[in-house]
């Protein structure tokens, strides 16, 4: 199985994600520069965090027009698992693959802190190893992480089970404390917190097992054994 880590100008969590995929979960991962094409044999795509194009105009909006996004969309249609983390989530939203928008945090500041997620949907390729309502200690690090969607979209998100993660507390003013959502088919997931920063006990001061389940879910979906 092969995981593509897409790199945009200004991505800065690409190396962290690659390390986790290869050194921690022993997966076959490869970087793909935003101007490249994604080959057919890719089994999952991850858009890592960072400041693509320096957050100019609006976080993720320029990257959403990168050549590689065309291929990401094709993969999404084929049902291939796609995960966007932080800026990757913002790019997925800006490219129309996920509903809603991400606004400036209520504090108007960049926020770096540990918080807890609650799993709301355990049917996606990134959450199938969780029990519903399971908690995940995980750090956030963003300036524009406040999820917002209009009433109609919110209704649909609830009806179609598209809310994947909620924060356990009010963190940044996100609508309904939403931290992550998926598309209707459930194969495209976006989340603001950083799972790649929480899967190793060395750097996770609380518990690294829950976050690891995000990657283990993907491995289960792909039929890869640990």
């Amino acid at each position: 199985m092969k995981v593509a880590v897409v790199v945009f100008p200004g991505s800065n969590c690409d190396r962290d994600m690659y390390h986790v995929l290869t050194d921690v979960f022993h997966l076959n991962a490869e970087y793909y520069w935003h101007e490249k094409e994604l080959p057919e044999n890719i089994d999952a795509v991850i858009l890592p965090g960072g400041f693509s194009y320096g957050d100019r105009l609006r976080p993720g909006v320029i990257a959403a027009h990168s050549p590689i996004i065309k291929d990401v969309k094709k993969m999404a249609e084929k049902g291939i698992p796609i995960l966007g983390v932080c800026n990757g989530f913002q790019i997925l939203v800006e490219s129309g693959l996920l509903p809603g928008v991400l606004l400036k945090n209520e504090s108007l500041n960049f926020m770096c802190k540990w918080t807890n997620l609650i799993v709301e949907n355990n049917k996606t390729p990134f959450t199938n190893q969780f029990k519903l309502d399971e908690r995940i200690p995980i750090p956030i690090a963003n300036g524009d992480g406040r999820y917002y969607a209009d009433d109609e979209t919110m209704k649909k998100l609830n009806q179609k089970n598209q809310i994947v993660f909620r924060y356990s507390e009010v963190v940044n003013g996100s609508a309904d404390r939403i931290a992550g959502v998926c598309n209707e088919d459930g194969n495209v997931v976006g989340m603001m917190p950083h799972p790649e920063r929480a899967v190793e006990s060395d750097i996770n001061p609380i518990d690294n097992k829950p976050s690891s389940l995000i990657f283990e879910s993907l491995m289960t979906k792909m039929g890869v054994t640990k």
Binding site: G10, H19, N109, R197
Partner: protein
């Protein structure tokens, strides 16, 4: 923005003719205090700079330490005081950018940023509040975008920085020893300018930084663009991996003038360059402007014609500028042309080596009476006083600051900010700890002992993580050096740091001198800021969460030395008294003992006693662990003192150890063997922070209330102008 009269005469006599206008600009930039260190250089040599781990190569802008297994750590410190005082957002941001490029130019990837920030009294001064808030945002926006974690620093407020700002930035890099750039140049090599375009921002920045701040010359402040810097980091590291870089230097103070002349001087070569080849932001820039522009995010690279094509491909991939601006010659001349016309032609040695000054010094008269104490009003309610101290800007939690910095990116941060020192994991299984510390209040009272204290405090912080200090960075910030009294304080601080560094065999691996830090109301207090880097061989065992019935032990004597303490200055509004001094022998015994105790995994946490003394240090442990504690002041070792002095003395070399009581005999054994003064002074448990003296309750704080006040006091003040107590 020009040379002084005798400097001009000297230049004329050295080159035997009148300089051209471009030559004047180049020399004025390079001979400025900022670039030439002309006042300080002859004295800085006293610092020990060599050690078994230090790797010295010519032309490095950062210090290099060998951390074993083929890996190196690089370190550097810089400040951006003048620009930040005028335009705090851009000044602080470009301060980060500059030091990051120094780390990059050795060929290492930057892995951590530290900030030391100093402003006027934010409780009363709205300008100081504005400067503080915007400097923090500037650092956050720049460092976060680069994806380099900001993992430590310090924030301090003092009247002496009124209408001014000290913004110090230190950075660490990490890489393979084999990938270090070995600066050299070969015949027919070319000089490439890579990165952002050259514009009219930051013109004369280094001279601006070398004068007293009299005008709000905003055009002398550089404009930050972290996105370009991020692209440069990735492009340079790729070029390094491909072996395309013969020599490299970042463009900082003095712009191209300094980068060209210093590269030529360091490599013992000449460089011929054409200003028309520089990619500029505006079309009508003069040669003088191009040579001294301090536009950010630019690197100078020496490479060969054959390697150029690959370098251009990398720059194209990242869409950053890449101009061949010159050729390497072997005539030791800095030859600047505009097309075919020569606009400057000087010996690199003349440009890069300003005549060093030997400034007079004289002990300041204020020091004669500074140790005299006045009589203080007796304290009626120590609990109320404690709450006031916990809410004071210098002691209140700085989570509002570091919470805006991404301190997790890079997935190395093992011990997070908010403790004594953060810890990073390295690729060879070792761990790195680092901290920067300053204490202008103590340095004002005794420049020598104060500077030593900063050095020891940084060491203590690193030792509290279990790391052995392996290198130091010094940043010496003073007022106008031409004032003999100020220059005396500079020399005293330097001598103190030198003595400590030699005794502990901690080499100085990098530093910076910033002079002419003058405010409208006078010179700043002497402000040396010391960074200490420590190494741990195995995963740190501290801090662990403290639980019910754990014990608290203090190492080191508490002495009657409250000069410069928060208690004297914030509570009694008194500047003076005796500054704490470090006994080197005791300091060494304490460090060795703490490291041994941590290595044997006998404690849950070690915390140093510094600002606010014992009372604040104990409260910090309680608040971060969410547990109460009962401390007996009568057990605290040291001379017999009044209660307020035991609580708030800022004596050095003291550590608070928290541990499971089953380990007490093993800990005592080590301390007794090393002849260390220590005492078990308290026990954890409950929800109150209590201090007793001969069983009389002196301080009784509700843990939750104290924590709330301590946590929110700073944002309440900065954002809402509200004092919490």
């Amino acid at each position: 923005m020009s040379l002084e009269e005798q400097e001009l005469a000297e230049l004329k006599s050295k080159i035997g003719r009148d300089p051209t206008s471009t030559e004047l600009q180049i020399v004025a930039a390079e001979w400025s205090e900022h670039c030439s260190y002309k006042s300080s250089k002859r004295h800085l040599k006293m610092l020990p700079m060599d050690g078994p781990l230090v790797i010295n190569e010519k032309g490095y802008d950062s210090g290099v330490l060998d951390v074993g297994d083929g890996y190196v750590v690089t370190a550097h410190i810089e400040s951006h005081n003048h620009p930040s005082a005028v335009e705090p957002y851009g000044g602080a941001a470009t301060g980060v950018g500059g030091v990051i490029r120094d780390i990059l130019s050795a060929g290492t990837r930057p892995i951590a940023i530290f900030d030391g920030l100093r402003f006027g009294d934010i409780e009363t001064d709205l300008q100081a509040r504005w400067l503080f808030k915007n400097a923090v945002t500037g650092i956050a926006d720049y460092g976060n975008c680069l994806g380099i974690p900001t993992i430590g620093g310090e924030v301090e407020f003092d009247e002496c920085y009124k209408n001014y700002a000290l913004v110090d930035v230190a950075a660490l890099g990490f890489g393979k020893k084999e990938n270090l750039i070995k600066n050299h140049a070969k015949k027919d090599d070319i000089v490439v300018l890579m990165g952002g375009s050259t514009g009219r921002d930051g013109i004369g920045g280094s001279q601006f930084a070398s004068d007293s701040l009299e005008s709000e010359d905003r055009s002398a402040v550089q404009i930050p663009d972290p996105f370009i810097e991020k692209l440069i980091i990735e492009a340079v590291l790729q070029a390094r991996n491909d072996g395309l870089i013969h020599a490299m230097k970042d463009l900082g103070g003095g712009g191209l003038s300094c980068a060209i002349s210093e590269t030529a001087d360091a490599l013992d070569i000449g460089i011929e360059m054409d200003v028309d080849k520089v990619h500029t932001r505006e079309s009508d820039m003069t040669p003088d402007e191009i040579m001294v522009s301090e536009s950010q995010e630019r690197m100078l690279i020496v490479t060969s014609k054959i390697k150029l094509k690959k370098l251009e491909e990398i720059c194209k991939k990242f869409r950053i500028g890449c101009s061949v601006i010159g050729l390497v010659k072997f005539d030791n001349q800095v030859h600047i042309k505009k097309g075919e016309k020569t606009v400057a032609n000087l010996s690199a040695d003349v440009v890069a080596n300003a005549t060093l000054l030997d400034l007079p010094s004289k002990e300041p008269s204020y020091l004669k009476t500074i140790e005299d104490e006045q009589k203080f009003k007796p304290i009626s309610d120590y609990s109320a006083l404690m709450m006031k101290l916990l809410a004071s800007p210098n002691i209140a939690s700085k989570i509002w600051v570091y919470g805006q910095y991404d301190h997790e990116v890079g997935i190395r941060t093992v011990v997070k900010p908010g403790t004594d020192a953060s810890v990073l994991r390295l690729d060879n299984g070792k761990y790195l700890s680092a901290k920067i510390d300053g204490n202008p209040k103590q340095c004002y009272i005794n420049p020598r002992e104060g500077a030593i204290g900063c050095f020891e405090e940084a060491c203590r912080n690193v030792v509290c993580t279990g790391a052995k200090p392996i290198g130091m960075l010094d940043h010496l910030q003073f007022g106008n050096p031409k004032d003999p009294e100020i220059f005396w304080t500079f020399l005293e601080s330097l001598k103190g740091l030198t003595d400590f560094a030699k005794f502990f065999k901690i080499p100085c691996v990098g530093g910076k001198v910033s002079l002419y830090n003058e405010t409208p109301t006078g010179s700043i207090k002497p402000t040396p800021v010391i960074g200490v880097i420590g190494l741990i061989d195995k995963k740190p065992s501290v801090p662990q969460k403290i639980s019910q019935d754990d014990c608290l032990l203090i190492i080191g004597d508490t002495k009657n030395e409250l000069g410069g303490s928060e208690y004297f200055e914030y509570i009694h509004k008194f500047v003076g008294g005796k500054c704490p001094t470090v006994n080197f022998e005791d300091s060494k015994k304490h460090m060795t003992s703490v490291l041994d105790i941590i290595d044997k995994n006998l404690i849950k946490s070690a915390h140093d006693c510094s600002k606010g003394g014992l009372a604040v240090a104990v409260s910090e442990i309680c608040m971060t662990n969410q547990i109460g504690c009962k401390v007996s002041l009568d057990k605290v070792p040291g001379e017999k003192l009044d209660v307020d002095r035991i609580l708030f003395s800022e004596s050095h070399s003291r550590y608070l150890l928290s541990f499971d009581k089953k380990n007490i005999s093993m800990i005592e054994e080590i301390l007794k063997k090393n002849k260390v003064s220590f005492e078990q002074i308290g026990q954890f448990g409950g929800n109150q922070i209590q201090f007793t003296n001969a069983s009389k309750l002196i301080i009784d704080l509700d843990l939750k209330k104290a924590h709330e006040i301590w946590l929110h006091a700073l944002p309440n003040l900065v954002l809402h102008g509200k004092k919490s107590v």
